[in-house]
């Protein structure tokens, strides 16, 4: 089993995209059980050579003249991304963002199990979110340890985010998904991924403002 493991960060991002295409193939039409690098690339907006490099980076192999086996590639990809084992996660902050994340059907399906929800506001504690009674922050340490949760989701206001993240790290968490518009400073042994709406909006404004002047458009009633 080749496991050459040198997957760069940009590559990991693209592997997620390929995985989606493969899942659609497995779920929906099983017209063929082969897929080419060109096809995967088209779905993800990436060149075919890039796809082949990415797949080779974790030891996936195709057949020249034929392509890759959908099922085998799917399974290999999940393994490479660390999705072959289930992950247990706790959510801190029972507001809109946390609920929106949990509402994604993929959350459970992909092997992410929510094991507890916490919030600082006593008015929210006790309410149910995604089937879990919201607990006070004072329970966090013990709940994380007891459940063996490896991931923490930070969905609190920006000025609380660092403290919450620190608490999660102290509780022994391995990775943090940060929804607060603030850079977290955490020890190197903890993985951090940020989902930042504010930054996304600003990036959009920036890129839209670079586009050719929208003078002669919205013309034809297309």
């Amino acid at each position: 089993m080749p496991e050459r493991n040198r997957i760069s960060k940009p590559a990991a991002r693209r592997l997620s995209q390929y995985l989606r295409t493969l899942q659609a193939r497995l779920d929906g039409d099983a017209s063929t059980n082969r897929v080419s690098s060109r096809e995967l690339g088209e779905q993800a907006g990436v060149a075919d050579a890039q796809v082949r490099k990415d797949l080779a980076s974790f030891g996936a192999g195709g057949q020249p003249g034929v392509g890759y086996q959908v099922r085998a590639l799917h399974d290999g990809l999940r393994r490479a991304l660390g999705l072959d084992k289930p992950w247990r996660a706790v959510l801190v902050g029972a507001g809109n963002i946390g609920r929106a994340l949990l509402a994604y059907p993929r959350f459970g399906e992909e092997g992410f199990d929510l094991v507890a929800v916490f919030d600082r506001a006593s008015a929210v504690v006790g309410r149910r979110v995604a089937g879990h009674a919201v607990q006070p922050m004072s329970n966090l340490q013990e709940a994380v340890r007891r459940s063996g949760a490896q991931l923490g989701i930070v969905a609190v206001p920006p000025d609380e985010a660092q403290d919450v993240a620190d608490a999660l790290v102290r509780a022994g968490i391995q990775g943090v998904l940060n929804f607060a518009p603030r850079a977290l400073r955490l020890p190197a042994h903890v993985a951090v991924v940020a989902v930042d709406f504010t930054e996304a909006l600003e990036r959009l404004a920036f890129e839209a403002s670079l586009k050719p002047t929208p003078s002669g458009r919205s013309k034809g009633h297309g």
Copy 2:
């Protein structure tokens, strides 16, 4: 006013971060009206030389031995990011994600105005979201044209995302913020920024699975 405009994509991302630090400075303590590249870099998790390169990329200048003027840098940054003029946006999809985005206090503050909300489900049409009555999709074209909205927010299920994005482009939109876990294929004159929870979770699983075995930890406090 120098405007050397060659801001790379990674640079734009970091500029957003610097902007946040500057805003915090302006809002909160005005202990000093200068800031150094090292200080900005610490907040954003970036080297000081990188900060200086980034700031130089849009013509901002500092004083050797002193630093940058907070107010001037803030204003210059906003201009560089296209945030000096207000943006009008429409939201398609009145579910959790859309509401979570609008709940961000920054949304309105930063100069993004929501002008209309649409949804395909007739059960939702007519309800109020963020102060706007949800409209049926059939109103989209006209509403976008009438309001002059430049941005569209796609917060619908993945299998509807491409159609919705196409409709937005036909209506004359300049940029799309895509929350659906699917790559959109749009003409080059339209900016696209994706916020993808699924990909973020998978990236987190990947990075967390690479971290050193969590054997002997939960020791000294940081």
